[in-house]
């Protein structure tokens, strides 16, 4: 029985756990109504009253739904490995809130993690990698002549490049966003790092890595270069970036590195045992699908197109073994759910996947 002085239809009908789901995932009107109802609950009132404790993702979303937004902030720690092949690095080079230091890699990592945190919070209301305020750790100056960056399950690791073919890996903002997004994917869909699910894992990192850069630069989908890793190559390399989401297979053609092997259509899907079944090769196909969808939708790619991909990543139907076609169906369903079955967004997403031959 409803006993509150002000009656709320949702409260009388629905149990709290369903109300919580609506407060997080419903339409704006339903979210606000569910939130008002939830705030009658004494537990939520305590949460709402507490402004000193950690702001977790769920609570933050509920606060946002109630119009009581406490913006979370990143908690960054940048370590310096000093050229040793060890991570985390032995020396803390910069902590959250400290001013820039006299080390470009440290500052780029710090700023890049901040920009990635901001994209996920401000565009999708996700509080860090785990949506619960996980501290963001990175190690720079990893090893010597090390031309790579990777996510080791707990932190991002960046090399300085070999100086011959590659510059330092923090130089490229989208690469920082790419690595951190691997952490998000690991916490959500957990896409297995092999074959199509692995290529999807890679593509999602490219998508949000590119969106981090586009948002910082204030670029619309039409303005963006859609390159991943621009600036990483030295002048000795014949190429512009590691990958092109717009035109997969065109990023480089160099005597040492070889030719960009990415396909942009399922007809050219590469079957291989190398590179964990071609995770960095076949990611060109879903990359191009996102590019096409974002261009067709127009405006800022991190808004509607990014929101569709983000919600698809969180969708319970996206699982460890989800393949391209499975993810395509989920993005279309999400687009219909968010914007309507006959919406321009749903049409754009459907046609993008058709164009690259996935559906």
């Amino acid at each position: 029985m409803c006993t509150s002085a002000q009656r709320h239809g949702l409260h009388c009908i629905l149990p709290p756990y369903i109300l919580s789901q609506i407060a997080e995932n419903g339409s704006p009107e339903l979210r606000a109504q569910a939130m008002r109802t939830l705030l009658v609950d004494p537990t939520i009132r305590i949460i709402r009253a507490s402004t000193a404790g950690p702001v977790t993702g769920t609570i933050a979303r509920r606060r946002a739904a109630a119009g009581n937004i406490l913006t979370p902030s990143p908690l960054r720690t940048i370590r310096d490995a000093g050229g040793e092949p060890e991570a985390p690095g032995a020396v803390i080079a910069r902590r959250e809130g400290q001013p820039p230091v006299d080390d470009a890699a440290v500052n780029e990592a710090y700023d890049g993690l901040g920009a990635t945190f901001e994209l996920f919070w401000e565009a999708y209301q996700r509080n860090s990698i785990d949506d619960a305020g996980l501290p963001l750790d990175a190690t720079v100056h990893y090893d010597q002549q090390y031309d790579n960056a990777f996510w080791d399950g707990t932190q991002m690791v960046f090399g300085d490049g070999d100086g011959e073919l590659f510059n330092r890996f923090t130089i490229s903002l989208d690469i920082i966003g790419h690595e951190l997004t691997h952490g998000v994917t690991e916490k959500e869909a957990g896409l297995a790092y092999y074959s199509q699910s692995g290529a999807l894992n890679e593509s999602i990192s490219d998508v949000f890595g590119s969106l981090v850069k586009q948002r910082v630069l204030g670029q619309t989908a039409a303005d963006a270069d859609w390159l991943i890793g621009a600036g990483l190559f030295t002048d000795a390399v014949q190429g512009v970036a590691l990958r092109s989401m717009k035109e997969p297979g065109t990023a480089y053609d160099d005597p040492v590195l070889g030719r960009d092997p990415q396909p942009g259509h399922m007809d050219d899907f590469v079957r291989t045992n190398e590179d964990n079944g071609g995770v960095h090769i076949n990611s060109g196909i879903p990359n191009r699908a996102f590019y096409l969808a974002a261009i067709a939708i127009g405006g800022n790619a991190w808004d509607n197109a990014g929101r569709i991909w983000y919600n698809a990543l969180l969708d319970p139907n996206t699982r460890a073994n989800t393949d391209f076609a499975g993810f395509a169906r989920i993005t279309i369903q999400v687009a219909m759910r968010l914007y309507g079955s006959d919406s321009a967004e749903a049409t754009a997403v459907t046609e993008a996947w058709q164009t690259v031959g996935v559906i």
Partner: protein, 118 residues
């Protein structure tokens, strides 16, 4: 296994390394690189031999690692005197001694790959 050779310090040996994975796949870098000890200065020969000894390379058993996004997998084959062994290890390499050995062999291979292609 290719024939071992004798360098200026008298250490006979050869290192082979193949690097897979990383933040991008470069077809030109996916090839195995071979470094004969004959091509190395004596200090370099000694460094590889010392690092192999410190890592207990010919008897170590690296724990299998799941594939981490963008992490590399190294296949390192070392022949030093009458010992020879191939080890496959993925980043992050938790054993510091083995990490240093892999790093040293990897760096030796970089220049050779570039020189061979240019």
């Amino acid at each position: 296994m290719a024939t071992s050779s004798t360098g200026t310090s008298g250490i006979k040996g050869e290192a082979r390394v193949k690097v897979e994975g990383g933040v991008a796949h470069f077809p030109g870098r996916a090839r195995e690189q071979v470094i004969s000890f004959d091509e190395l200065e004596a200090p370099q020969q000694q460094e590889i031999a010392s690092l192999a000894s410190a890592a207990n390379f010919f008897n170590c058993r690296p724990a299998p690692q799941p594939a981490r996004p963008d992490a590399r997998t190294y296949t390192v084959c070392l022949t030093i005197e009458d010992q020879s062994r191939e080890v496959r290890v993925s980043e992050p390499i938790r054993d510091p001694a083995l990490a240093k050995l892999v790093s040293a062999v990897r760096r030796l291979s970089i220049g050779r790959a570039v020189a061979a292609a240019r």
